[in-house]
Symmetry: C2
Subunit: 480 residues, 2 copies
């Protein structure tokens, strides 16, 4: 810290503490410099700084004086100046909404690639060199139009690329105008919830379901009504029997999170019929629709809707990599302008140079190629993973057959000490999660929720063996 | 579109429209292929697709039949299948909150670099080649820990770099833990408003002021109470006389938006004293604090607070470029965990590889060097701009002296037809904005609000002459 800054700090502190009261005439820079054995410029700089800040005033012919500042305020803020932190009051509290958001849990994840963390694609297989080239070329000689505050709702070429991809692969009925690009699926859920829900609105959610959806809905003040999931998807009849009609129904029809179930056609039709009756919104989180390993994928629910009541959400986090932070909504025509305005107020806009690079990545066919490659790879990894689980975890867990997604559920065959199981696996570098925390109502059938897509086959056996040993130790030496 | 997709579409449509009722037995693939003069594989593929989707069921020994689907739902969604859009009902409406957000205006901007758009730094002077290298190197061989969902609230090295920059240049009292990295200043305002305000909360805002702040506050349900700005900053005494005590005071003390006024020390102290009395939050938007051309900058208001009631917001949009989409909050210690959790629910997280590149940019000194260079450049541009305004716009506008920021206010000397003035300048490629829309109460003194920092000196005279001609035409030929 330069000497003049130290000196001005000491003088400022003296003013705050009242040791230099208003009107005090300071010594001339020459005499203070002599007294303190400092250079005269040091003193002049310190005085200048405090004059600029308003603590001192230089009056021609009358030297430098302490200005007249409100005494109470000066002393109230004095504590902070040296100690770095005061304690006069606890400080104002968060809003009720803020406390609610802060208290809504998320599954925490450790940085880096670990078996069997959920939600992670094969980071080892993404073409980062190619991606780096595209991003760098979007930045190096940028078009000024992608550097400012423009293109709210998304860069046009990217919206075109997304719309065309969704129409051809997901049966979504949309134009590029209806696509709203945001900073990740969580932002998509958050802005959709705010735009269609007022505090207290009834929302049907899948139980078990995604914590992020619950967080976004709670932040919007929604009243969450859990609807169980059976082998056909969300159990609408249960919802009708037990809950008031919804303002919004949230679901993951392609690959239910976490159970991996695809909502059947008859359930989809029933859902739309019920939404028509209740005049409800539907938020279709088209989670993991890209990864289906047998048969052809069902189209999106959005394509069955003829009343503009479906808001469709998709993301590049699982098909490229999570830290990309680009996802999108498809909203009904009549809401496009409001969503575009809204996003300028919420700041959930992805950086334009990244959007430009992503448009290139899709338009040049790299995205489709990567998806095809990952579909084959994940099918292999799933096959190998199921094989290893049958070999090493038989008797501990059972895996219902699934043919989609990036993770699998393995139900416990016997009661286990979850906390101990997870801690023991974690100590060996393996991340386990359970279904329990994903339930809002009581969890009737607990199990592990395991991400396999991000785990190279060569590392899989070691990781499954670690899980097996954690089960085994528990069987041999039950605690209490 | 492949033939089998066309065929499956036609059959699906027939099911929806009731022309193929439940239970209908379809012809064998061989006979349908013959009837339609199609290849047999085309028919098999179409049938397979519809079986996968649930429209048809293949019963061993009994051929392929239409499944039993709810009739009402089938016909309700039939319109959408071919025409792409139905019209059975207007569709559900947005929430009251959503309508409010959608109706809150923003000043719109045309893409690209135009004189005298506000909020734009010198895009022609940013070291994009260097920045592209840093970004590409963060992406090319990425550390897996920056690819996933980690580092909520910001990448640690970036938070360290920001904290150290703020402590040394802005007198902010903070640790890296208190820094929350978000996707731009608007996201910073949005998340802060949601975390500290419940619907109906009283908020004092500067009038005139920033539309983005108003938008974020309105989205959070706040009640906006306009407080006029005088030559010392926000007029606290006016607020105390006219408004109920605030839950939050929002201000831009370094360089008031739009008037460019620096809040004086005595006003800062009075503000903190009043906030202590009212137990109010203060949101310090440290807008354009980096650009001060004479004298030394006043430190941040945050540094005077000893009760943890200031939330400090800063951005890289004006010091680097807007589409970077990185900004930050400094929040009191006691709120850090809640803000970090909140940001995982709102998705206002900047891409980690970008954060890593930005940390490098700061740590290697490029950021400080760019700031120094821009400070000199903007001082020159301001000087030249004022000179040109005095030369060409004398009699039309008057410019109060300012020594900071990236834009200037030029008050109208006589009443003008604003709409015509702006349209005529716009037609010549010059963007003008006025103070009027930035006022919540009636605008007592209107004028132009002109961004000069982004305009190269060589282009400035032409642009100022265009403005002069627009004024002149109005003087010569008043409309009506």
């Amino acid at each position: 810290v330069p000497l003049y800054v130290q000196l001005s700090g000491a003088l400022r502190d003296a003013v705050h503490r009242g040791r230099l009261p208003p009107g005090t005439c300071l010594p001339s820079s020459r005499s203070l410099a002599a007294d303190l054995s400092l250079g005269r410029n040091t003193v002049i700089n310190a005085y200048d700084q405090l004059v600029a800040e308003g603590y001192l005033a230089a009056v021609v012919g009358a030297g430098t004086r302490v200005t007249n500042l409100p005494k109470g305020a000066l002393s109230a803020s004095s504590r902070s100046l040296r100690t770095g932190r005061g304690n006069l009051s606890p400080g104002p509290s968060l809003s009720e909404r803020g406390k609610e958001i802060g208290a809504t849990g998320r599954v925490s994840a450790k940085p880096g690639r670990r078996a069997f963390q959920t939600g992670l694609p094969a980071l080892d297989e993404f073409p980062f060199a190619l991606w780096a080239r595209l991003v760098a070329s979007a930045i190096r000689r940028p078009d000024p139009s992608i550097l400012g505050y423009h293109h709210s709702g998304g860069y046009r070429p990217l919206r075109e690329a997304i719309a065309s991809h969704l129409r051809s692969t997901r049966g979504v009925q949309c134009t590029a105008d209806q696509v709203i690009v945001v900073t990740g699926a969580q932002a998509a859920l958050d802005i959709a919830a705010r735009m269609i829900l007022d505090p207290g609105a009834n929302v049907w959610i899948e139980d078990p379901g995604y914590l992020g959806t619950r967080g976004a809905l709670r932040a919007a003040g929604a009243r969450l009504l859990p609807v169980p999931v059976d082998e056909e998807g969300m159990d609408i009849e249960h919802g009708r029997a037990c809950h008031p009609p919804p303002r919004l129904i949230c679901l993951t029809p392609s690959c239910q999170f976490p159970l991996g179930i695809t909502t059947t056609l008859s359930r989809r039709l029933a859902l739309i019929e019920w939404a028509n009756q209740a005049d409800a919104w539907i938020l279709e989180d088209d989670y993991d629709s890209e990864y289906r390993y047998e048969g052809r994928p069902l189209s999106a629910l959005q394509g069955l809707d003829s009343n503009g009541r479906v808001i469709y959400a998709g993301t590049f986090s699982k098909t490229m990599f999570p830290a990309l932070r680009v996802a999108y909504l498809v909203v009904p025509d009549r809401c496009v302008d409001d969503f575009r305005t809204a996003i300028r107020h919420t700041g959930q806009e992805a950086p334009l140079p990244l959007q430009a690079a992503l448009a290139e990545f899709i338009d040049r066919g790299h995205y489709a190629a990567h998806l095809r490659r990952m579909r084959r790879l994940y099918a292999q990894r799933q096959h190998r993973f199921v094989e290893l689980c049958e070999q090493h975890l038989a008797g501990y867990v059972s895996l219902p057959p699934r043919d989609a997604g990036m993770q699998l559920v393995a139900y416990f065959e016997h009661p286990v000490d979850r906390e101990r199981l997870l801690a023991e696996a974690d100590a060996q570098g393996v991340t386990l999660s359970t279904l329990g925390p994903l339930h809002l109502d009581a969890c009737r059938r607990d199990g592990l929720f395991l991400g396999y897509a991000g785990v190279p086959e060569g590392e899989m056996e070691t990781a499954v063996r670690i899980v097996a040993r954690a089960f085994e130790r528990q069987r041999r030496a039950p605690r209490d």
